[in-house]
Amino acid sequence: MDPARYAALFASESRDHLATSTRLLLAWERAPDVPPIDDLFRAFHTIKGMAAAMGYDPVTETAHALETLLDSVREGAAAADAALLQQLFDGVQALGEQIADATGDQRFAALTATVSTASGTIAPVRVARQRLDRLGRLAAELDVATHRLIRYAERSADDGLEERTSVVRRVASAMADEVAGARLTPVADLFARLPLAVRDAAHDLGREARLETAGDAVEADRAVLEALAEPLVHLVRNAVGHGIEAPAVRAAAGKPPEGVVRVSAVRDRGGLVLTVQDDGAGVDRAAVRARAEREGLADAGAVLTDDDALLAMLARPGFTTATATTRTAGRGVGVDAVLVAVRRLRGTVQIESLAGRGTTWRLRVPVGVSSVRALLARVGRVTVAVPFTGVREAVRITGEGDAYTDVRGRRLAVRSLRVLLGEGEGPAMGRRPAVVVVGARGELALVVDALLGQQEILVEAFAAPRGVPAWVEGAAVLADGATALVLAPGALT
């Protein structure tokens, strides 16, 4: 018997049973009169059987102990009370960690509770995720390549060529759409872990909190959702740990003792917008400022009024205002990890915090990873592409060489892309187009020569030669065959 052959089956089935157990325990907690003992027993029993076959002794023992606990409830020897329920929660957590150790797959330790949805009578096909990634990449490349072929065919005098490439174009485009569609996953899979995260955080910190979700059916590329899984859990835990007040405090403030964490997903023209909102006390800006001053950071006072400045401060690696660490909060690794993950997806993060009312986090990311919708602009001899998710708006500004400009009542720092790219000074113009982006420390207005419209582009990251700044992410081949420099505005200061 060669256990290695069955390791993949063990992993995927255990994942399903752990997710089911978590879901059942959460349901039990909400409806204590109807404990799902038999279903839970079966889940532990199955894991035990498989672990025994694989020789994963610690897992077998823990699963057996959980079975015994449930048996004692079934026979009336133990009461199905909150303490026992907590024992079961802890046991399932331990099971996940032991499976992670046994299989070497650390995702089990975080109880990846992706709910497997039964879809009617046709069983879904399992496709290895790497294959799906490769398919996505190839389909996008084929799409771009056929774009260029069409342009070439249009310029040639050969009628036959144009007609044939048109067919290729149609098929390649349809295929790219199908592959993109195959990679789409409902956001509900991403939300599946959150009820447990809220529950654990509330339990650890003596809070009462519930989770509400919206937009579960919204779809996005699975790679995008996987990258956001951990960040979302961080934000939700923070909402309970730092946002929502203790029940007595809430009652004194006229709020219901149970706080609400609302997570929603919406698609807009730029991509996917995930919002995490709590009805707590808002970020303690005074504490953030005090902490910033203690660390000797300049302009600490800005956090009192400016949400972008507040975000920049919270996102500093290791920054925390908590005085004690628990499983849930205070480790200071949450917010900067969120920003890193979102930026890697070419997305942006925004925070809104109202004292006494609550905090809202807004993550904006592209829906897909292979190709990205971008705003094109000409800067001297160079065409630049700025992914839409990093763009706030496009404006016209006056004043040559000014360091700052006012846009709709906001004061923005101005950067000339001509200067940044070494293209020299352009001709004098009264009003110049500028792209307002979310930079590393707040909004910036990037001045360009002309806006060229928008396009879906395939970003080719490169191993950048020395001297290429961090805000140049890569290059892209445009539909007309020209190349564009892709900017990462999040790295611009």
Binding site: F10, E13, F41, R42, G49, M50, A52, A53
Partner: protein, 120 residues
């Protein structure tokens, strides 16, 4: 001609393991069921020479499935697959009509010995 087997267990992992052991020994796996209800349906349709049956399953469990299959076919040859510590349930299964049992985790040699006993 190879003897036919119906494998019944709610875990794909377990079904795969049992099927592999038996297939390598020359048996033909003609069906798989993930609960007792499917087991009864497939038994009627496939009339296998042997059934391997798990005990703990959703919807309809192994013992009830054994009872139903044996009521329709007293000649049915069913081998129970139980986990450790389920002696009472194994006894019930034998009383319901199962011919023999094996205990998880499986050792191929023990499995094949038990299969031979059931088929003879």
């Amino acid at each position: 001609m190879a003897q036919t087997v119906l494998v019944v267990d709610d875990a794909i992992f377990m079904r795969t393991m049992i099927a592999d052991i038996l297939a390598q020994a020359g048996f033909e796996i003609v069906g798989e069921a993930e609960n007792g209800r499917q087991a009864v349906e497939l038994y009627a349709k496939l009339k296998p020479d042997l059934v391997t049956m798990d005990i703990v399953m959703p919807e309809v469990g192994g013992i009830d499935a054994v009872r139903e299959i044996c009521a329709a076919d007293p000649e049915a040859r069913i081998l129970m697959c139980s986990a450790m510590g389920q002696q009472a349930l194994v006894v019930q299964a034998i009383q319901a009509g199962a011919k023999d049992f094996i205990v998880k985790p499986f050792q191929p040699s023990r499995v094949l010995e038990a299969v031979q006993r059931v088929l003879s």
